[in-house]
């Protein structure tokens, strides 16, 4: 795992730090009243979205959900566009028509925007994978979903159809132990959701979702497998949602002990320590990362704030292609 060169590690760290910075800044912007809609907290999920996205090739496609800011960034969506989406500006990926990470797709970047209905995007991702198989292209679709969404019929249908058609797709299940206020024990009656994979005929892998290297390694294997034509894989990444479900959720229903336990496992803090320990990171590099990220964030916010709102006269444009 430490065979890859220094820059890769710094990149992983950078993407995770950038993800958190975008998240943090979004929350401040919301508190300043600059975001009309809501924001989904990303804290705890950075290693999953970044690790998985970093395992993909440029030709691949992702279909993320609402805690995958990192994957958007890795694929090349700028912080400015992300802020502008939250701030409902016309420069955003949805031209101000969709809210927060919803509809934040960009086909040029290989990102399919999602709709709220969970996990509907899994079924859409199947179609991307299908097209690759259909045209004999060595491309892979990777999609994310949640532990809560795994109870929806669309989740099971997707695993089954992917397995039957042997599609080049990777499913990442981000198990953060809660679906909004609902803990796992009221969501499902098994000990590990990875069992779902076997029941539909695809391999299932469990990884430490707060360990970006583990996520990346497992993703790489699954992606390679898919690219080879060996079909889909389900990766279950264990983590914990460290904030409320969305902006206005105080998440009082989460036991403090549980949060404290997982606070120890912060994906960024721990990865940083590891890099220091392995002498792959020094203070100066860290400082310059922070500086660069600050700059990007500020520039992004500035750009987004300068972006105009959509013109109401455009309201009915583009219902049809």
């Amino acid at each position: 795992m430490f065979e890859s060169d220094k820059t890769d590690h710094i990149k992983l760290l950078y993407w995770m730090m950038l993800t958190r910075a975008v998240d943090d800044r979004s929350v401040s912007l919301a508190k300043l009243g600059k975001i009309p809609g809501t924001i989904f907290s990303q804290k705890g999920h950075e290693a999953i979205s970044v690790g998985a996205a970093c395992a993909l090739s440029e030709i691949d496609v992702i279909a993320p959900m609402h805690r995958d800011l990192g994957a958007y960034l890795v694929r090349g969506m700028t912080p400015g566009r992300i802020f502008s989406q939250a701030m409902a500006r016309v420069t955003s990926p949805s031209q101000g028509r969709d809210v927060n990470t919803h509809g934040m797709g960009d086909i040029e970047l290989g990102i399919i925007g999602y709709v709220s209905h969970l996990p509907q995007l899994m079924t859409v991702a199947l179609g991307a994978a299908f097209s690759f198989q259909y045209r004999n292209e060595p491309r892979v679709a990777l999609t994310f979903t949640g532990d809560g969404a795994s109870s929806e019929g669309a989740f099971s249908e997707s695993l089954n159809l992917a397995a039957v058609l042997k599609l080049p797709i990777v499913f990442i299940l981000e198990d953060n132990q809660y679906a909004y206020s609902t803990p796992s024990k009221y969501q499902y009656a098994i000990t590990d959701l990875v069992a779902r994979a076997t029941a539909f005929g695809l391999p299932g892998v469990t990884v430490a979702g707060n360990n970006v290297l583990d996520v990346q390694t497992a993703s790489t294997e699954a992606i390679d497998r898919a690219r080879r034509g060996d079909g889909p894989t389900l990766i279950k990444a264990n983590t914990m949602r460290m904030e409320g479900h969305a902006l206005h959720d105080s998440a009082k229903y989460v036991p403090t002990d549980l949060l404290n336990k997982w606070r120890e496992k912060d994906p960024i803090v721990n990865y940083k320590s590891l890099l220091y320990e392995k002498e792959l990171l020094d203070e100066q590099t860290e400082k310059s990362l922070i500086k660069q990220i600050d700059k990007e964030i500020s520039a992004g916010v500035l750009w987004a704030e300068k972006s105009p709102f959509p013109d109401p006269a455009t309201l009915t444009e583009g219902v049809y292609a």
Partner: protein, 324 residues
């Protein structure tokens, strides 16, 4: 009578009916410890426990179907969808099983499918929808959308006691913005009856839900131009109160239909059709519809503000009608 919010009125209806009838239970996502995404079920879990206030997994299909089975066996389920937008995920068992069961099998099926509904809060295309027309077009369902705290409580209690599946949409824009006098005791407001929210003589504004306050505001503005509007609050969308619709159309001869849902094949179309079939000779001007356009609900405030009808639009359209 104490003044309470629309949300509190809903909450009171749930409390009182669950207390009065132990066959009533409620299920949905995050309605227990959390009290629901909007706190509509706050306190129910503490009072009635997990047995009667059930936080389900995410499975709109299965829990909508479950409601039918429980109703068949004599219970009175209340299903909460976290947003009306997610009713499309549980659509199949509602429109196929629940809607058709009595016609085919003659067993009553008392279910309420509740959901926070409609726009106005910049929540984007998937947290703002008004899908009532899908259900109004489906035979065998009742559809109810209240416009004020008093009706919200009374209609919800009626819906719970009704022997049929009832889709009960709650304009979430009104949850905290609308307060009103609401009797603390239990009472019912009959399903199927529209309300004359404001009597008038020149123009009929037929509307429902969160557009009722807009219509009333418009009517007030219009009195300054000496235009007298009658505002009809439908309350029940399906089956429609044809008598009230025709009565007001015949009375004023000028009809403005107002709703927050998209125009094409919406409830407004049905109202226009009913009037043009049955009160044609009484009309002094073309029927007018003021509705959202045929697009998804956009997020950005300038777009949603243009999308969602408001009292200004109503004033404008009413004047056109008046001076026709």
């Amino acid at each position: 009578m104490p003044e309470i919010t629309f949300l509190q009125a809903i909450n009171q209806a749930l409390h009182q009916e669950m207390k009065a009838d132990d066959t009533v239970f409620i299920l949905g996502q995050d309605i227990g410890v959390l009290g629901g995404a909007f706190q509509a079920t706050a306190g129910l879990f503490d009072e009635f426990g997990r047995k009667r206030v059930i936080d389900t997994p995410m499975c709109e299909y299965a829990f909508s179907g479950l409601a039918s089975g429980a109703a068949l066996m004599g219970l009175r389920p209340i299903v909460e969808f976290q947003f009306a937008d997610f009713i499309s995920t549980g659509f199949d068992p509602i429109v196929q099983f629940a809607a058709t069961h009595h016609y085919r099998q003659k067993n009553p099926l008392p279910i309420v499918f509740r959901a926070p509904w409609g726009g106005g809060s910049y929540a984007g295309p998937f947290h703002s929808q008004c899908p009532e027309a899908w259900f109004a077009h489906t035979a065998g369902l009742k559809v109810v959308i209240p416009s004020n705290p008093h009706d919200a409580k009374g209609l919800l209690i009626s819906a719970i006691r009704d022997p049929n599946p009832v889709i009960f949409f709650e304009p979430k824009f009104l949850y905290r913005s609308q307060r009103g006098d609401v009797p603390s005791d239990s009472y019912t407001v009959d399903l199927g009856l529209a309300d004359v929210a404001l009597a008038g003589t020149d123009i009929s504004i037929i509307t429902y839900g969160a557009m009722v306050p807009e219509a009333i505001a418009a009517a007030k503005t219009l009195t300054k131009s000496s235009i007298s509007c009658e505002v009809i609050d439908l309350r029940t969308i399906s089956p429609l109160d044809r008598e009230s619709i025709l009565a007001t159309a015949k009375k004023t001869g000028k009809v403005l239909i107002l709703h927050e849902a998209r125009k094409t094949a919406g409830i407004g179309a049905e109202i226009a059709a009913i009037i043009s079939e049955n009160a044609f000779e009484y009309l002094d001007a073309p029927i007018k519809r003021v509705t959202a356009p045929d697009t998804p609900v956009p997020y950005s405030p300038p777009l949603e503000n243009a999308y969602r009808p408001n009292s200004d639009n109503v004033v404008h359209a009413a004047k056109e009608l008046y001076y026709f």
